[in-house]
Structures are given as C-alpha cells and as structure tokens.
Symmetry: C2
Subunit: 962 residues, 2 copies
C-alpha cells in the first residue's frame, strides 16, 4: 500500500533530521513495543491519543467511537490524499508527525525540565506519573521524596489535562503530544480536527460555505459597469498582487453547511474545503465547549489556561515567511504584498487578510484602510484652508491695524509690578500668525469636517455591509460567549460561601456582590479624572510661575524669549505626562475591569474599552480643552485681576486670542504622541520582548535551533495576540484629534494621514511576523468602536461650534462688521475690541515699577475686553457690545450645532446603509437558494416515484398500515 | 369506509340547505357524469382542480405530480382526521365542500352575472369558454356575437387565471372553485395547502416551530421571582381571560422547521401544528412566487390583482363572533376579551392577537399598549404640574404686580387710531391664567418629558426584544420583497420602448427614468408646504383684520369680547382646515408615491409614509409653531410698527406672553382632531362603506343570505385590510403633540391617554369585526415608525428648549432675579419688562383718536420690550438688558439641549436594549439546541455502528471501492 509507505518515509526523513527527543508516542509503540514497562506505558498512551491507527494495528475499537471510521475509512483518506497532497514536510508546514494530519491548534503546558538522570523518561513525559510510583532503583530515595512533593501539584495538573484531553477525544478531535524536546520545559499538545468533526461543527456553527452553484454578479446598469471597469484599470497598479482581488463577475452561492445537503457543496478537495483559519476556529469552538467536570468546580479551557494547567493556546501559522525554499503560503503572500513599507500606496489585500486572520482582524484593517483613504480629501482641504490663511495674511485688516505703527495704542501691563505698559504693535507677529488659523475658511472647514465625519461613518457602514456580503456574513448572528473563568471562579466562591451546592446556572453574581467593585470603580475613575485635572492645573501653575520668574529676570534676551520658552517647555511637559499617564491609565483600567468580574469575554472587553477610553481621552484632551475654553477667560480685568495660589495672576492669551496656542499644543501632542508611541511602543517593545523570550534558550543553540524548529515551536516564540483594542484605541484618539478641534488646526488630517499610512504597514508587519496567529473570530461589525466614533463625531460638532464662536475672533469680527462698523469693513475693529483703563484705578502695589518704560507718561491704557470706559455711568461693567457679541456667539453655537447635525442626519438618511448593488445581490441570492431547493425538491420527488426509499413522515405510515 | 360516508353526508346536508347553484365540480363529476357534454366539461375541470381524488376514481396520475400521495396517502389522512376532527360544518368554519380541507386563502374574480337563459351553464361557469364556441342553438345569433365581443376580454382573463392556477397546482396547492352562487358576479377560488406543501414552505421560510424539547424559563434570582409572582397576583384582574398569558415557566425550544429533522417536532396533531395564520401566509408566499409567463410580460399575483384578473385576495377569518351556537374560536375570544370598551382597563392579549393576526399587527397593538401605559405616569406628572400652577397662582409676584391697582401703569394702545391707552391692571386675568402654564414646574416638566420620551423608546425596544424572543423571531431576517406590479409594468414599457427583449432583471428604472417624477415630487412638496404656510398666514390676516374691524365697532359688549371671539373662531377655523387638509395631503402623498414607482412594497410603504408624515406634520404643527415662535416678535415698536398688507399691524401677544394662546390652540387642535377623526373617520366611514357594499345585494334577500353565507363569502363583505399606516400616523402626530410643545401644555399627555384608551378598543373592534383578516406578516420591529419617533423625540428637545426660553417668561424672570433685582426677588419685574414711549413720537395719523380715554392726558406710555427710554442717548435702541437676556435665553437653549440630549443618551446607554433575562434565555436556548443535536449525533452514530445504512459522503465510497 503506497499511502503507508509514504507515511513511513516521511517519518523516517523526520528522524533522520535529528531531534531524537521528539519521538511521537504512536511511533514509539510500533518501534519499542517489546522494550519493557515504558513500552507498555506508551501503548496505553497510544490508545488514548493516537486515534489514527497505524496499519500494523488496524482500526482499534475504542477509536471508532470517537471517529466515525465507518463513514470515512482511513484507507480511503490515504488514497484520496495520495495523489495531490503528498505528506508534507512537518518542519515547514504544520502537520502531525505522519505528515498527513494538519495541526489545527496547539496547547502548551509546563513540564519539568528533564534532569540528566531522567533523560529516558523525559522523552515521553506522559508516563511520568506511573514512573513516579515505581521510582527507578538507582535513585536516591530522599531526592525522590522531595521530587514527589514538588510534583504533587504537577500531578494534579496532569490529571486535569488528561481528563480534558479525554473529553476532547470524545468530541472526535485527534491529538498528538510532544514534550520537552527542543524547547525544554514546554509540552505541546497538537490538535487535529478530522473531516467529520469539521463537518459537524460547521453545521452547528451555521458556517456559510460556497455551494457548487455560481451566479453572475450584476454590475448594475451598463454605465455603472463601464465606470467600474474604467476604475479597475486606473487603480490596477494600486492593487496588491494577490491574485484574488480582481472584481469577480461570478460568485459562489453560499449556504450554511449541512451534512444532509452535502450534494450542494463542492467537496472535491476536502483538504482545502475548510481553510486553516476555519479549522482552527472550529477546534477552538470545541475547546470552549469542553469542560473538566471532575474537579472541584467545572473548568473550561479559559479556566485551565488561567490556572496554569495549560500555559498557552494558539493556532499555528501557515508557513514561513522567508527563505527561498519556503513554500508559497498565504502568510508569505501577505508578508510580501501587504506587510511592507515599500508598497504603502497600494490597497490592502483585505480578502486575503480575512482569509488568513479571520473576519475581526480583516474588519480592523478594512476600517483602517477606509479611514486612511477618507483622510486624503480631508488633508487636501485642510492644506488648502491653511494655504488660504497664508495667502490672505497680508490682506487681513485686523492684523494690519495691529502692525500699523500709526495706531499708537498703549496696552496695560501683562503682569503685576515687573511688567510695564507696552505697544500693541509689538504683537504684530502673533496677530499675523494667528490669522493662519483664524479666518473665514476655518468655519467652512469645521462644517466640512463635521460632514466628513458623517460621510466617513456612512462610507464605512456601506463598506462593512459590502464585506459582510462578500464574506457571507449577512445572516450571521453573534452568539453570546461563554462565561469567563474569573466569573465562574467568583460564582463558585459565592456558592461555597452560601454552603449551597452550585446548581448549574442558578447562582450568579448580583448587584450586591458587585457593589464593592462598582464603588471602587466609580471612586477610582473620579479620582483619576481629578488627577488629570490636577496635572493640567500643575502645568498651568508651572507656566504662570516660570513666566513671572522670567519676567523678573533682568537679562533682556531672556525676557524677549519668555513666551516661546514657556510655551514650548510646557507643551513638552504636557506631552511627556500624557504619554506616561496613557500607560498608567491603561493598566488601571484593566485592573478595575478585572475587579468588576464581567460575565463574558464580550462584556469584559466592552467594559475595559469604555474605561480605557474615558481615561485616555480625558488624559489626551484635558490640556487642550483648558487651552481652548478656559485660558484667558477667567483673568478678571485691570485693577481687579483674579489671583490663584496667593499672588499668581491667571494667564492671559496673546492679543489675537488663544487659537494660536491651542494650535501649537495640538500639533505637539499629535506629532509627539504618534512618533513616540509608534517608534517606542509598537516597534521597540515587541522587539525587546521577542529577544527576551528567545534568551531563555541557550544562545549558542539558538541559531541551530531556529533552523530545525517545527512550525508550532517557532510560533511558540512569537508574541501572543492580545487583541485589537490597543490599535483601535490609538486610532480613536487620533480621530478625536482630527475632528474635535479641527477648527483650530486644519493640518491635523494631514498629520493623521501620514501617520496612518505608516501605521497600516506597521500593524501588518506585527501581525504577520511578530505575533502568533490569532483565532479567527467572526464579526459583522467593529462593535463598540463604531459607537465611540459616532459619539466622537457628535461631540466634535459641539466642540467645533464652541471653538469657532468662543476661541476664535470670528463672531466679534462679524458682529463688528454688520452692527458697529461705520463703513461695513473691519477697519477700526482692533480699536473696538479694546477697552479703556484709567491707570489711577490700579490696586495699590500692582502698578508697574517702570511706568515710564515707553518714554511717556501713560494715563489710560487699553486691554482686550468689552467693558464700559472709566468715564461712563457704569465704569468697567460689561458693555452692551459684550452682551450683543455674547448673544451672537451663543446664537452661532445653536445654529451651527443644529444645522450641522441636521445636515449630518440628512447625509446619513440620504446614503442608504446597504449599497444598492449589494441589496440586489442579497435578494438575488435568496431567490437562487429557493430555486435551488425547489429543483432539489423536484429531483427528490422524481426519485420517490421510481421507488427509492426515503424517510417518511412519522405518523402517516403506521396509520396507513392500521 | 367511514371517512367517505361522512363526506357524503356533509355534502348532502349542504345541498339540503339550499344553494343549489354552488355545486362543486368534483361532486358534479360523480353524480352527473352521464349527463351529456356538460358532464364532460366538468370531468375536464375535475382533472384540473380536484386534486384529492374521490375513492371511486382512485388516484389519478396527473395528480401525483402535484401532491405527494406516496408520502401521505389520502386514506391515511381520512383515518387520522376521522377520530378527533370530524368534517366541519362548512358554513361556520372555513372548509372545502368536503369539510376536511381548510380554506387557507381565497381569491375572487369577476364573473358574468348569470342570465336566466344561461342558468344551466352558470352553475359551473368554468366551462363558459367552451360553451361560447358552440353557442346553444336556441340563442339569437346577434346577441351571441355581442356577447362574444364583450366576453373577449373576459376570456383573456380566464386564460390567465387558468395558467396561474395551473402553476399553483404544480406548486402542490389544492383548489376548489365556486362561481356566482349566492353572491352574483363573484367567483371564488378557495385554496388549500396540504401538509407536504406546508412542510416544504415552512422549511424554505425558516419558520421557527416549537420542538418537543421543553425547558424551564428561569425567572432570574429568587427576589426577582418573588417580585414577579407578586406582580402577577396584583395584575391578575387586569389580565384578559384568554387562558394563555399566564407567565409560563416552561417554553418549547424552537427550531427552524426542517423535514429532515421531523423527529424534533411534535407532529401528533398535524391539523394544529401550523395554525391558520401560518397556513395562509404560506399560501400567500407561494402566490407571490408564482407567475404567469405566457402573457406579454410576466405577471405575479400583484399584477393579476392590479389588472383585475383577480379582484380580491384574502385569507379567511377563523369563525363567527356572535351567535350562541358559534364554536369557540380565536376570533370570538378576541372579540370578547379584547375588542370591547367595557374592559378598557385590562391588558391586551398580545399573544393571541399575534397568533390570529400575525406579528406585524401584534407589534402595532403591543406598541400602542406600551405607549398608552407610558402615558399614565406622564399624565399624572402633567396634572401635578398643572395643579402646582393652580396652587401657586396667588403667590406669583409678577401677576400680583399686574393686578395691583396701585401700580398705575399706562400702556400704549393695542392698535392704531381706534384703540386708546389702557391700564395694565385690565390684563390681570390673562396674567394669572398664563401663570398656570408658565412657571418653574414647566421647565422641570419639559426635561421630564424629554427623558420620558427616551424611556419610552427604550422600554419599547426592550418589549420588542421580549416579544421577539417569545415569538421566536430572534434570528428572523426580513427578506426583501418582490418588485411591485406597477414597477414591473414600467420596466416592461421601458424595455418595449428600447425595442430590446426584456432580459430578466437587467432592465430597471434608473434615475433618468425617474427624474420627471422626482422633480414633480419636489415641486409638489414645496408647493404644498407653501400652501400650508399660506393657510397659516391667511388665518393670521383673518385675525388681524377681524380684530381691527371689531375694534372699530362702537358696541361696547363687542369690544370687550374681542379677544375671546377672535381667538376661538381662529382656532376653530384652523382645526377645520387641518382636518380637511389632512385628508387632502394623504391623497396627494399616495398619488405622488404611485408616480414615483418604487420598486418594492417595502420601499413604496416607506416613501409613502415619509411624504405623508412630512405633509401631515407640517399641516398640524405650522399654526402652532407660528404661535410659539413668531407671533408677537415681529411687531416693531410704538412709533415704528411693522405693517402687513398695507395697514394691518402684526398681532401682539397678550401681556403675559403667547404661551397662553399656544396652549389654547394646542388644546383645541388635539381634542378636536381626535374627537372628530375618531368618531367620523374611524367609526362612521367604515360603517357607511359596509352598508354600501351590502346594498349591492338585493335587500330582501340580505337577511336570509346572512344566515346561509359561508365563511369566505361573509369575509367578502368585510372591508379590505389597508395596512397599519393610518393608525401609526395618527399616533405619531399625537406623540408629536405630547412631546413637542409639552412645555406649554402639561395636560397634553392626559388627553392623549384618554384618547388612546378608547383608540385601542376602537382599532380592536375594527380589526376583529369590520375588516377582512390580514395576511400574517412576520416583523421584528415597527420599522420606519421607530425612526420617526426617535426623530420626533430629538426635535422635541430643541423645540421645548426654545419654548421655555423664548415663548415663556422664565428666562427674563431668572435674569431679573439674579442680575437686576435689588432684593433678589421678582418685585419690580413687571416694571423692568416695560419700556417707555414718548407719545409725541407717534407717527402722524397713528395716534389714538381718543387720547383722553383714561381720563387724564398721557405723555409717556409703556410697552413690553427691552429698549432704551426716549431720554437716553440712543432712544428706542435695544438696551443692554435686552442683549443680556437674549444671551441668557440662548445659553439656556444650548445648556438645555445638550444636557437633555446627554441625559437621554445616558439613559439609552444605561438600559440595555435586550432585557437581561431574555439574553440569558436566548443563550440558554442556543446551548440547548447544540446539546440536542449532539445527542441526536450520538444516537445516529450508535445506529451507524449497528449497521443502519445512512447517506455517505460523496467521495469516500468510490475511492474505497477503487
């Protein structure tokens, strides 16, 4: 029989290549059967784990329970695979030792490091327990006793593992075990799901699989078709070369897999019918369902992992990414056509990403792609707005007036005593600079960006729907996941405390149980937000005090550079604090969520995300919010300043408003955060971690090892997949930066765009090369992140309304032009914004020490505010202009908010959530399914009439016989 | 054979009771076979339509294609039904003539009224066509020719019908025909779906049916359980006695019906496994799918109905509602326990409503119930707020000041020339009255109602989810429906114009085709909204002109009652116009939507609803919006009034603001609209229609007929079901009234509550007694109406913010109290709101004719506005107070809107959409299903090992044989 020969050859090749320690038990049994008690142990093992019987033994009875050999004889399998799929080289590809059965999942566990005396037994450490009971005679009994104590815990763990694996076997999975071979101290349990198990589970999971029926995907009308073809040609160089993302005119009709409807599916190639991602997720599904029941409380896989009975659980990668002789595999294609900086301008091969990593990861990258794509127009418009500001800076009447030396305006001092009066003309530079960010185009840009955000959400919804259709998820429902191990543990503790037997599902954590955790969370969250506020206030104090100190300085160069120095240092301090606190808050949020003990993984994730989001968001945006809305507003007025901490006057804005400073702060935060976080945390830290993991192995063997390592061993050295949340979180904060204060910083989309182009490839590299393969999770949408994005884009409308109306001088200019200007222009605007102050009204001790600084005696100085002059009936009261402008500002906020929200809702309503062609296709698919079944129906009836027996309705037969 | 005897007996009874004309063809064939050519015709018919063969004939071959007799022999059917279900009396229950097969659906069509000479042939009018070709000799050839021309059209229709019915028969349906018997000119096609068809279609439709597996519905923790039990006891008298709405502790596990998994379902009683609603919807599903292809273009059932080939299509009611001897049926129970005013305080039997009318109707009544229930707290709080206003009316400082005669304030005249100065004290009554609706509690109530609206939406979402769970709709997906007949017709016209053969699905209406319709719609909508505005403006003009005219009048009693008269007449005119235009707009919206030719029924409905909503909403609310926000705001000031239409001054509000008038308008609109629409349109019109329909029959026979009519004939006289949209629309407008201007009219929820309590029973009566049974439509939610409700409750927040800040005097009072009041109270507020006017500044010709009316010479009069006095530098300019108050008003709007929106979102987020227990149950159900299948799996495997042959995978067998 040729098939067996192949197997044997493969095995022998394997052994020839070294790694003597990794002998598989199954093979041991054939080779070493006559070698005494160890051989017997192996036999016992073999019966348990080696479910594909070797030919010398034939099909053993015990196995036929687990696997349905009658349905799928092994010989047939061999024969079938013989032709196209020769047994694979187990080193490159993830296969069992026989080179036939694919490793779909790997569980690792801790085994004792082999001692030199134990070399023999460590080879197949499974039988350790039995060996312990009959300790070899040549060993020191004391040492053995010590070992026994140490091993008690390990024995317990092994028992659990055995029970669990027994249960897995009962579910039909096949396993192979490999202990402490190349990587000392680590045992691998390789899991393979045979065809019947895959079919059964696919049916339970209602996996939609392609049927043999193909249908034409209509491209809409002929015009649409032409446009599509044209677009395809134009974007051809932007498409990655993965050979599958061409627009296809045909699609396989998909239908939930069912063994009873096997005739519908193309099962000609069983090895590729379920791809590796699906196989591993099926195994994972079984793992999740399987429980250890003999222990004190029921343990699922998550509990087993949590309590260290197993250490890791992961599916294996498809193959290697480098090496010329490496076989072509999806991972390699992804590495070449996706995870490379040199092709940053190309589209992502989303289909392949989904095929390899599953829908959830695919959706993340699709979302990131859509976001980056959508940033292009935003960046272009932002640059245009900025350039418009640059171009009109010389025509801007207010800054011209400020810079005009003929307007001999004397301003009140900037600080008490140390500062003196100053001429407005010295603020010429900032006035000109602030025009760049504070002009009419800004308002347009804010509206544009609000609509942009809506368009982005809509575009994404449609893209998501399209992907759902292409990925056959349209009727997929997200099942609620199993309770988490921690939750079950707490439930058990509770039921033990009550001294009731834990009835299945009847005991649960109520509000009362959770109250302490909830209270802690609320207190902690409030406390942390207070910390954030305190930090901002600290930075403000730093600025105020340094400013005062520097003003006192007598060195003139220091004094001229005061503002620049203070602004820059303060912004950098802010940045550093933000980055540090980001990590701290992330850790605290996780700790709080663990304390909360949410029931399911899904709710754990949601709660964690929510907390992290609140904290990180507050951390990133509090300084900016302070700058935008509070700075310079609570300073009082000359003669009646507001003081903090005794004698520090609150900081004022520069003459032209705080918008300029807000802009600088945003720019530093955004650039700095992205550069540092990307470089340090995303590139540096994983590298270090990987190095650390590999350092555990002897350095000298490392090189050599790397060459001989098997797939699942290589994967063991990769970092575990920790979920997409950090990636999403980073992007959401960036989205906040781009939309929230965009009115003050039109270049934000550009910076975001540049960052994201790199980010995509960075993440891609990480997923392909640095991390273990994630378990493919089906998902229809991006979940809570969409809600957060929606929330942000709503908040953005309000924030931008306030920035335009309160932070910028847009409204005062408008009011002046239409209500007060004598000639309808902005001439005289600067004068209008300045109120008068009689210097004799200074509080004693706050007058400038050098009143004659400007060379003449000042009697009335000016300050920026709308207040009545000293000579009116109500001196220094807010003037009528103040109230009128305030009303105008508020009216603008209302109008802006409601108009933009209405426009957004209108856009939302106008663009259907499901693209027209997709809804047509879905409808078509439904009809085709019915058609297909009606045809099958007729076929069946025909067969019935010619006498083929078929299952009959339950009742009719007996009654007709009666 | 006893079964047949029964059939025969039933038939004979039938005949004995008269109605000689309704002999069924099938029976004719047995009885009258030897009676010449007519008998042969009947035979031919019989082969076509009588699919259950009579025993004398045996199973005929042709039939075996349509029905799967091999699976379900007729004898077995008879035997099975013989015991429990004797053939039903066809008069009361909807059964075929054999009394065995249920009528699941009825199609009617027009037949020629039998002439006396044609009596013979009219008995079985089916053979008319053949008779025509060989006209009986005794007929006048001229008459025959004329008849032939007339009948050509009818022949064509008959051909279509025959083709369609042939296709239906091929789908396995069984039919019985009855022409022109008791109701002349109407032919009935009674359709019955046999068991196999039901099973097949249920499988295609993925109908979830209860399996034999029951499981315990856990009630949550023990406390929750106790509370539930207690609540159940308390509400017991409120529960309708339908014997099924007790909280059940067990629920059947449901699973999509599949013939391959028949063992899962309890099929012991096949007659009741699919209830009558499901049966008729299954038949409807087949009808929708069946096409006539031989005609010029493909015609579905909707085209056939549209072109008059069939006239009506409806399922039949379960039975009669009155008569002591009437059998108990669901309809009767509904009539007694639901559609009765005397049990208005009880809950509705939603489960039974759903069981009888289907999910869509069930959801409407569930929604109406939830809405009504939620109105109870709103009404209570509203009444309390109103009572608070009543109680504090005497403590209200502003109205005390108005009423205090010592404040001798002289007001400027209300109109030019005719009116004179007046004393503020005369406005005492309105000032006191307006306090009822304009006090601090109003603000609270507005916030309360905004949150109430959110709570209502949330509550409904949860209720809906709960119903989805109970009704097994959790995984139901709404399939897109078939194209409408009109759409197909237009597509055909287009393809004919292009002279291309109409490829299936390739020709469709593009934007270009629809452009004319779209343009018309936009123009019409704009025009209609302009009409609405013009009507409001017209009413304003009416008020202004009448007011001026009455002021001119010299009769003192007229002059004192001026305001009351004008207000009341104007409000009534408004009401009448609203009610008339409501009907007009409804008709126009339908016309516009028909013109638009939407593709599917769903989009037709949505577009129609949208248009109707916009128009009806504008119609109902424009007068109210005008009153709330525009009236009294654009009047100018004394000496510089704004005039419209030459010389009419715009109307002012009463001294205490327009809130009072807004309140009156709302009250009249709401009460009047509901009373008139309920009484006239919902009770009166259907009664008249029914009378008209029955009048077509000879009056003298009517009484007699009513007694002998069959179920499907009785249903024919009922009104057709026209959808739930008018019902929903009415409620949505009411919801608008309740939420939009609730700040000005806290009694609105009470009125709505009273109306709805009646409305529920009114609608119930209509559905149970007046209308034909609707086709049961599965629906998970209330669709577009939910979106509209959400939209309304959002708009309500903004509208209420504006009403409080601009229409009421709440903000000015607050500003006065905290900014201007010398002692922090409202004393002096009235004086503060009044500006001064120097009477010498009147424009010439506008001074009062009787300046000495008050008995003294007036030099300065007062008017309600914030303007500078005549003696300031800027006389009659808006004062600083004006701007300050405006700013405060606007700030309030911003704060109110955002705070309430935030609170709503928070409530939305806080309350999970899926109730906790339901999500637990759903999860449990999923697990149970997997468990059930795993058990079945093991059972199957066991059977496999003992050698039972089973379908094998496709590939393995041949290769193993090779």
């Amino acid at each position: 029989m040729k098939g067996e020969d192949d197997v044997n050859t493969a095995r022998k090749d394997e052994e020839a290549e070294g790694s003597a320690g990794e002998k598989l038990l199954g093979f041991n049994s054939t080779e070493e059967q006559p070698s005494g008690p160890r051989g017997q142990d192996s036999m016992w093992r073999n019966e348990k784990y080696e479910t594909v019987p070797l030919d010398v033994k034939g099909i053993d009875e015990d196995n036929s329970k687990g696997t349905t050999d009658s349905l799928y004889p092994q010989t047939a399998l061999r024969k079938a695979q013989q032709g196209s799929d020769r047994p694979k080289d187990a080193k490159l590809s993830p296969y069992f030792q026989d080179g036939l059965r694919r490793i779909d999942y790997v569980l690792t566990y801790h085994v004792q490091k082999p001692q030199s005396t134990h070399k023999q037994s460590s080879k197949s450490c499974l039988c350790c327990r039995r060996n312990r009971k009959n300790p070899p005679a040549h060993e020191d009994p004391e040492l053995a006793a010590q070992e026994q104590r140490l091993d008690y815990h390990e024995d317990d763990q092994r028992l659990r593992r055995e029970e669990f694996e027994e249960n897995l076997r009962e579910m039909g999975l096949e396993m192979e075990r490999e202990e402490g071979t190349k990587i000392p101290g680590v045992g691998f349990l390789k899991i393979h799901a045979p065809w019947e198990v895959l079919c059964r589970e696919a049916e339970f999971m209602k996996l939609k699989m392609p049927t043999i029926k193909k249908y034409e995907v209509s491209q809409g009308s002929s015009i649409v078709e032409k446009v599509n073809t044209f677009m395809q040609k134009v974007t051809a160089p932007l498409q990655p070369k993965v050979g599958e993302n061409r627009m296809e005119n045909e699609k396989h009709l998909s239908y939930p897999f069912s063994r009873e409807k096997q005739h519908l599916f193309d099962l000609s190639d069983r090895n590729s019918f379920f791809d590796s991602k699906t196989r591993s997720s099926i195994v994972y599904e079984i793992l999740k369902r399987t429980k250890c029941t003999r222990a004190k409380y029921i343990m699922g896989i998550s509990s087993l992992l949590g309590s260290g009975i197993y250490t890791e659980a992961y599916p294996v990668h498809d193959g290697d990414i480098d090496g010329v002789n490496a076989e072509t595999n999806d991972r390699k294609i992804l590495y070449e056509e996706w995870a490379s900086y040199s092709i940053f301008y190309k589209y992502q091969p989303i289909g392949l990403i989904r095929k390899y990593f599953g829908e959830k990861v695919g959706l993340y990258f699709a979302w990131l792609g859509v976001y980056t794509q959508m940033l292009i127009p935003a960046a272009i418009v932002g640059v245009i707005v900025f350039l418009y500001g640059c171009a009109t800076v010389d025509d801007n009447i207010p800054s011209m007036e400020v810079c005009d030396e003929r307007n001999n305006i004397t301003m009140c001092p900037m600080c008490d005593r140390a500062c003196s009066y100053w001429k407005l003309v010295t603020a010429c530079g900032t006035a000109r600079a602030s025009h760049l960010f504070d002009n009419a185009a800004t308002v347009f840009f804010a509206i544009f960006m609000a609509l942009w955000a809506t368009m982005f959400m809509e575009h994404w919804k449609r893209r998501q729907m399209r992907l759902n259709y292409v990925w056959d998820l349209t009727s997929f429902e997200d099942a609620e996941s199993q309770p988490r191990a921690e939750y079950e543990f707490h439930v058990m503790k509770k039921s033990l405390k009550k001294e009731q037997p834990p009835k299945a599902g009847n005991v649960k954590l109520t509000c009362t149980d959770r109250m302490p955790a909830y209270m802690t969370i609320i207190v902690m969250m409030v406390f942390l937000i207070c910390v954030t506020l305190a930090i901002v206030f600290g930075v403000v104090l730093y600025r105020v005090s340094i400013m005062t100190a520097l003003h006192m300085s007598s060195i003139p160069t220091v004094r001229t550079n005061i503002r620049a120095t203070v602004k820059t240092t303060a912004a950098i301090i802010n940045l550093i604090i933000i980055i540090i606190m980001d990590e701290v808050y992330g850790a605290i949020a996780r700790w709080l969520t663990v304390m909360e003990v949410p029931k399911t993984d899904k709710s754990f994730e949601e709660r964690l995300i929510f907390k992290t989001f609140v904290l990180k968001f507050a951390n990133a945006f509090t300084p900016i919010v302070y700058l935008a809305f509070f700075r310079g507003r609570i300073i009082g007025r000359p003669g009646k300043y507001i003081y903090v901490m005794g004698s520090y006057r609150m900081e004022e804005c520069a003459h032209a408003g705080c918008l300029m400073e807000l802009c600088i702060q945003l720019c530093i935060t955004m650039l700095g955060k992205q550069l540092i976080q990307n470089n340090l945390f995303e590139i540096g830290v994983p590298k270090i971690k990987k190095l650390l993991r590999q350092r555990k192995i002897d350095k000298k063997h490392q090189e050599e090892l790397n060459k001989t390592l098997h797939r699942h061993e290589k994967d063991h050295f990769l970092g575990p997949f920790v979920g997409l949340n950090p990636e999403y979180m980073e992007m959401i904060i960036q989205f906040g930066m781009v939309t929230l204060f965009v009115a003050s910083f039109p270049l934000a989309p550009l910076f975001a765009l540049l960052n994201n182009v790199i980010e995509i490839r960075l993440d891609a590299k990480k997923f392909v090369t640095e991390l273990r393969r994630p378990i493919a999770v089906r998902a229809k949408d991006i979940g809570i992140w969409y809600t957060l994005l929606r929330g942000l884009s709503k908040v953005a409308v309000i924030v931008n309304a306030f920035v335009i109306s309160f932070t910028s001088d847009f409204i005062p200019r408008l009011v002046y032009q239409y209500m007060y200007s004598p000639d309808g222009t902005l001439h005289g605007f600067v004068n209008h914004t300045l109120s008068y102050f009689n210097v004799s009204h200074f509080q004693p001790g706050t007058e400038p020490l050098q009143p004659m600084h400007l060379g003449y005696k000042v009697e009335v100085c000016r300050y920026k505010d709308y207040r009545d002059p000293p000579w009116s009936d109500t001196p220094y009261q807010f003037s009528r202009e103040f109230w009128a402008i305030l009303a105008a500002r508020l009216a603008f906020v209302i109008v802006f908010q409601n108009v933009v929200m209405l426009m957004s809702d209108f856009v939302d309503w106008l663009i259907p959530d499901i693209p027209k062609d997709i809804s047509v296709q879905i409808h078509k698919e439904r009809n085709l399914v019915v058609e297909l079944f009606m045809k099958a129906e007729r076929g069946k009836k025909y067969r019935n009439t010619i006498g083929d027996p078929s299952p009959q309705p339950l009742r009719s037969r007996p009654s007709s016989q009666a």
